[in-house]
């Protein structure tokens, strides 16, 4: 029941938001709805040991072999929690930003939340595809209506890009359905496809997930879209939506096509490693803060993809923790960018400087978030990246584990280079004409940043409960993905 509510509350309240004509009403109502969803997610975590509350199944399209089947396992629960905590934070952090036609804006935001949670909970392939598109379509309208100058061209590219991936995935899912006769995930896991079928199905699904994450060379929609979207939408895209791709790899690709993943696994790993270095180096040159964070995100997600295909327990747990941590950290980054843009009217680092003198509280929060972006010990990203790198190093499914791990670890160093460069250019140094008039952040901005920093430190200092939560699921994913024991027989 809780799983169903997690989808229904944002869906229905989103539809209701469209009817509200007053800006304040729409804004307050959507924040209220987001908080209610958050409370439901907390309840979900509280009853996590009683799975019967977290699953829901009903008849949907019986003659197609598809049912409305949702379940919150550890990964689904955690990502729903991330979505549920992100939306109130996003609404509060962008409280002072005004939008034209606010009812449509907030309504579409809540619809995308429903779609995202649906993707994370769906246990039926057709339902998964359905929610996958439900999450995409509101975001298309959000970017194209409220975006920057070049929004139409950029959004069109984003849509065609991701929709192409979705359709490839749909073809793959329908092919497997034609073999098993049902869209149920358990049937898909037991589909027993031949190695040849698995190999090309692997590419159909991988390309869809790679575009969403994004993995080099399918990433070019991302910096443009992040740059042109309103920041609230960029937050949704980067903090939550990219996790759809990683979840797709872990829940759908790896256990469903174990032989395909084993045979082809080195290809995505190589692309991911190239992407880590490539994106980190490009991030170094960016002047627009949004583009810098966008490239930094490509590097971080590349490491997650690499870890997924290393098929070790520590890497899998690391990916799950890192999905949550990356969401929190990048959300913090965007909030800082949003505040700076609202204060000074620019995101260009060359035009900023010395902000720390005028806004010390903002600077303190930013530096904690920046250190988490680099993955320093005591921050949440360190736990995830350490587990992932050690998993990649000990991987048994690839011969290049050590090479991958060494190159990926270079990405951490480059991460420090570009993040600290941004910190120096924006916050340190002398103030200029523009930043001289700056003021410090307000109470509600402090409050949301404090929540982010709190989450960074809690997961960074005591990650054990989260690791325990993910342990069982990691085992079962790796068990279904394991082909080495089959080869040994």
């Amino acid at each position: 029941m809780i799983a169903l509510l997690l989808i229904l509350v944002p869906l229905l309240s989103g539809l209701a938001t469209f009817l509200m004509k007053k800006e304040d009403a729409a804004r307050t109502w959507s924040l209220f709805a987001a908080i209610v969803t958050f409370v439901i997610a907390i309840l979900g975590v509280a009853v996590f040991n009683k799975p019967e509350h977290l699953a829901f199944q009903t008849e949907w399209m019986g003659n197609l072999g598809s049912s409305f089947s949702i379940k919150a396992d550890a990964m689904g629960m955690m990502l729903s929690m991330l979505t549920a905590i992100s939306f109130p934070i996003i609404f509060v952090a962008t409280w002072s930003t005004s939008y034209k036609k606010p009812n449509n804006f907030f309504g579409l935001m809540l619809l995308s939340q429903a779609g995202l949670i649906g993707v994370f909970l769906a246990m039926d392939a057709l339902l998964f595809y359905f929610f996958w598109e439900l999450a995409l379509i509101p975001v298309y309208f959000l970017c194209s209506q409220w975006g920057g100058e070049k929004r139409i061209a950029v959004t069109f590219k984003f849509f065609v890009y991701t929709f192409l991936g979705s359709l490839l995935m749909l073809v793959g899912l329908i092919y497997i359905w034609s073999k098993t006769g049902s869209f149920d995930i358990a049937g898909f896991y037991a589909s027993d496809l031949s190695i040849k079928e698995q190999t090309w199905l692997f590419w159909l699904l991988f390309v869809a997930f790679a575009i969403k994450m994004p993995i080099f060379p399918f990433h070019t929609w991302q910096p443009d879209t992040y740059e042109q979207s309103p920041t609230a939408v960029t937050m949704v895209l980067s903090a939550i939506m990219v996790k759809m791709g990683v979840l797709g790899l872990l829940r759908w690709l790896l256990p469903m096509l174990p032989a395909g993943s084993y045979i082809m696994g080195d290809n995505p790993s190589t692309l991911a490693v190239i992407g880590i270095i490539y994106a980190s180096i490009i991030a170094f040159k960016q002047d627009d803060m949004k583009r810098l964070v966008a490239y930094s995100s490509i590097a971080h997600v590349g490491l997650m993809c690499l870890a997924v295909f290393s098929e070790t327990k520590s890497a899998t747990q690391g990916v799950m923790i890192q999905m949550f941590s990356h969401g929190i950290n990048i959300l913090g980054m965007w909030i800082v960018v949003e505040i700076i843009e609202r204060k000074f009217g620019t995101r260009k680092m060359s035009e900023l400087g010395g902000v720390a003198q005028k806004a010390p509280a903002l600077a303190i929060f930013f530096f904690v978030i920046a250190l988490a972006n680099i993955a320093l010990p005591l921050t949440n990203a360190f736990i995830g990246e350490f587990l992932m790198l050690s998993g990649v190093l000990n991987s048994k499914v690839t011969a290049f584990g050590v090479v991958y791990a060494v190159i990926a670890a270079l990405g951490v160093i480059l991460g420090a280079v570009y993040t600290l460069r941004m910190a120096r250019k924006v916050f340190l140094g002398k103030t200029n004409e523009l930043t001289e008039k700056g003021t410090d952040i307000t109470f509600h901005e402090k409050a949301v940043l404090a929540i982010i920093v709190g989450a960074i430190l809690i997961v960074g200092i005591y990650p054990q409960p989260f690791l325990d939560m993910m342990s069982g699921l990691s085992d079962s994913i790796l068990k279904s993905a394991d082909v080495i024991h089959l080869l040994k027989k």
Binding site: K157, Y161, T220, Y278, I281, I282, K285, V417
Partner: protein
């Protein structure tokens, strides 16, 4: 013994330094080894030359590669579709005669293809 020697040396150097700099604190232009020390062994310059500057130029190159080659390929696909659409539009001329001609040509093509593909 060692302790004594080093202590004496330290005291001597302190005395020399006091003597030399307490009276005349302004230093002249450093020369020779002093200049190397003044520039911190040129460590910063060394790092600039072998790491920072290459990284900067690599970053520029890759950024151009990303926007021109990779993104260019993506946008190129879009442009190709647009261009193709513009060209194929002429086929829809509204003249029944040309439609029938195309039908005949396609039927012939199907026959030819079928002829060659027959097992």
């Amino acid at each position: 013994m060692l302790v004594a020697i080093s202590s004496i040396l330290v005291i001597l150097i302190v005395a020399y330094a006091w003597n030399r700099f307490a009276k005349k604190p302004d230093l002249g232009e450093a020369t020779g080894f002093g200049k190397v020390l003044e520039n911190k062994w040129y460590v910063d310059e060394f790092y600039d030359a072998i790491i920072v500057n290459p990284l900067k130029s690599l970053s520029r190159v890759l950024n151009d590669f990303d926007t021109k080659v990779i993104d260019g390929a993506v946008n190129g696909v879009g442009r190709l579709v647009k261009y193709g659409g513009r060209q194929f539009r002429w086929l829809q001329s509204g003249q029944i005669g040309s439609y029938i001609l195309m039908m005949v040509i396609s039927m012939l093509l199907v026959f030819v293809v079928q002829f060659f593909l027959r097992k």
